[in-house]
Symmetry: C2
Subunit: 389 residues, 2 copies
């Protein structure tokens, strides 16, 4: 049996929560980890130095977007996405499936693959499991995701059963087609909606190819289902996944959801939320989210978050950041993005520390207590310069 | 006589070109110097660390923009523009005059001041010499510009004569109103269009208040007049300005114009051009400007400029930067802005070095020889990966 290019070492369990290390061709990743999303070959607003400074050990690239522009063939000519973008640490690429299902304006799911229209120019495109792997082979990411169908969160059992079975057939085709199995690790994606037995079915089918997989993702969560359903499924399926491989929960970037996922044994998460809400003027704080763009923060001379040690909180005041955002200045979007990424990346670093010290649950409860305070906290409520509250 | 808050030390003359040091309340500036423009309290796209890294010793702030948003009163509550924006080095603020004349949709020039409509909301506003100084006092800049009228480059003698005389009367009102004369240095602005005798008239009137001025600016150039007229006026008026004070040519950021200005004794220049053209996909190179956004650079794996030692050229390739700009990514605008500012800031640093070594003219001629090559240079023409040219 071939040695897999991406491996996982479990260092410590605290309940089902895990602290570990993933080794990839471009370096190691300490887990649990939050992975910033670099949709178009760049994490929106950030430089690679800033990503390193705020603690990122791996970023995502987006197969759908990079295939359309600048094209994966062009990136291959530059020697792959690492060299093209000058990011030297690990990269994970998604399969393009999620974007095809969410952005493609027309689509037709067939056994062969998916027909869709480019969101850029409306041109008719076709993506199959083989095409997705070919693109990801061209991009040269450390972690390659299987091409799956990602059904909406409220899909019925009747819809999901044939979808899961097709996703399994597609998985086999991906494994067969993969051209760089010793350089790029394949991750399988467990689907099955909000039904425990269907999650089991999906995983049982996929694990027959276990020797080809460097890790397992949980897909089809945080796509419109109820929070209690998501938590129930996480609790059910995560601990069943192979202990010797990393577990990746796709598309989750809400702090409370992330801690719930870690509690059940998730190692990796990604989401566009911290960058997206940041650019639109919302930031994370330990007491919940804060809409820094609001007029009420114009005269607030405190940092974004209480006790935060990030570059932004050490240097800039709320009133200035609010001004920059209102004036449409790039620096405003840079500062909120940086802070939000720092917040989530370091939330996972602190969770890791707590797991290693056998006190993850205490850590989680303390975080939830503060985070749920919201407007009851004096740090969320605006303050004017000189005002004593 | 009161000691002025901003002083100039002449270190070396090479012909009329000067190398010197300006001392301000927030530190020293080596001249000749290019000053990046921070219109809304931030140099578009840049962080303060990047500005320092690329060599900026002083930046501009914009009275008109900051008065309208977030308002100078708000900035004063934060302790001034330095504290508000966390920039600790020198700041120069313009008077707002140029923007009133170029951006204000309706306007009426009266002896008292200028009526204009805000470009943000159309609201009717009024700015007078006193108001301009009051705003700049609130901003707390190191260098405060007098409120002048800036007539178009092709203005007639008949228009200019009363305009100059009014600008002189406004200058007196500015000097009288200035509330922080020991903390903020006032710069006078010599007008007079493209007429030598009118330039002399303007300067002669202003120098009667010389003891109140920390420096002199040359206004009303690079505003639509012919290049030979601009050069002729620079050659005529610059050497006449007081040798013991800095000389500031307003709104000039074309490399060849900058070197011409330095040759005649200009010490300081500013312009939005490097940041503006950068954001739109044009960069400076030693062989002239290059439209990096063009499709022909998609497969070019060279740095932006030949032999450039800036952060961008050391890290990123043309094809990647072109992709970022096409995809509308913030990082693309950051990289082109950084490179362009580095180019102009270091053009002035190199000019300074040449002056100190008594070889400014050789330096200027060598620069012009390369810069005029344009498409005759292999560095301006696109190259595909692997292609040998």
């Amino acid at each position: 049996m071939q040695k897999l290019p991406v491996t996982y070492e479990l260092l410590k369990k605290n309940g089902n929560a895990r602290a570990g290390v993933i080794t990839t061709p471009h370096g190691k990743i300490e887990t649990p980890v939050f992975m910033p999303v670099g949709t178009q070959g760049t994490v929106k607003g950030m430089s690679k130095e800033e990503l390193l400074e705020l603690g990122s050990e791996i970023i995502l690239g987006n197969t759908y977007h990079l295939h359309l522009r600048p094209t994966d063939e062009l990136i291959a000519k530059f020697g792959g996405l690492h060299k093209f973008s000058a990011w030297e640490k690990p990269i994970l690429t998604d399969s393009g499936g999620f974007q095809v299902f969410s952005l493609g304006t027309i689509r037709k799911i067939k056994e062969e693959g998916v027909e869709f229209a480019s969101h850029l120019d409306g041109s008719k495109r076709f993506i199959s499991p083989e095409k997705s792997i070919e693109i990801q082979n061209n991009l040269g990411s450390d972690i390659v995701m299987l091409f799956d169908e990602c059904p909406p969160g409220q899909s019925s059992r009747e819809y999901l059963i044939p979808s899961i079975e097709r996703t399994t057939r597609w998985a086999k085709r991906c494994v067969t087609y993969h051209k760089r199995p010793t350089e790029q690790g394949l991750f399988a994606i467990v689907q099955g909606g909000i039904y425990e037995d269907l999650r089991d079915k999906s995983f049982d089918e996929l694990k027959e190819m276990d020797e080809s997989f460097s890790g397992y993702a949980i897909g089809g969560l945080a796509v419109g289902e109820k929070k209690e359903d998501m938590y129930r499924i996480l609790k059910h399926i995560t601990p069943k996944l192979p202990e010797n491989k990393p577990r990746y929960l796709m598309g989750v970037g809400e702090p409370l959801d992330m801690l719930e996922a870690v509690e059940h044994g998730v190692d990796m998460m990604d989401c566009v939320q911290p960058t997206r809400i940041g650019r639109h003027g919302t930031v994370f704080t330990k007491y919940g989210k804060l809409v820094i763009k609001n007029a009420s923060y114009a005269e607030d001379d405190r940092p974004l978050d209480d006790g935060c040690n990030c570059y932004v909180c050490r240097n800039y005041k709320r009133g200035y950041i609010r001004h920059l955002l209102k004036a449409g200045e790039i620096l405003g979007q840079r500062l909120t993005t940086y802070h939000n990424l720092y917040f989530l990346v370091n939330l996972m670093k602190n969770a890791r520390k707590a797991i290693l010290e056998d006190k993850f649950i205490e850590f989680k409860e303390e975080f939830i207590k503060n985070y749920s305070l919201g407007k009851q906290s004096e740090w969320i409520n605006p303050k004017k310069i000189g005002e004593n509250k």
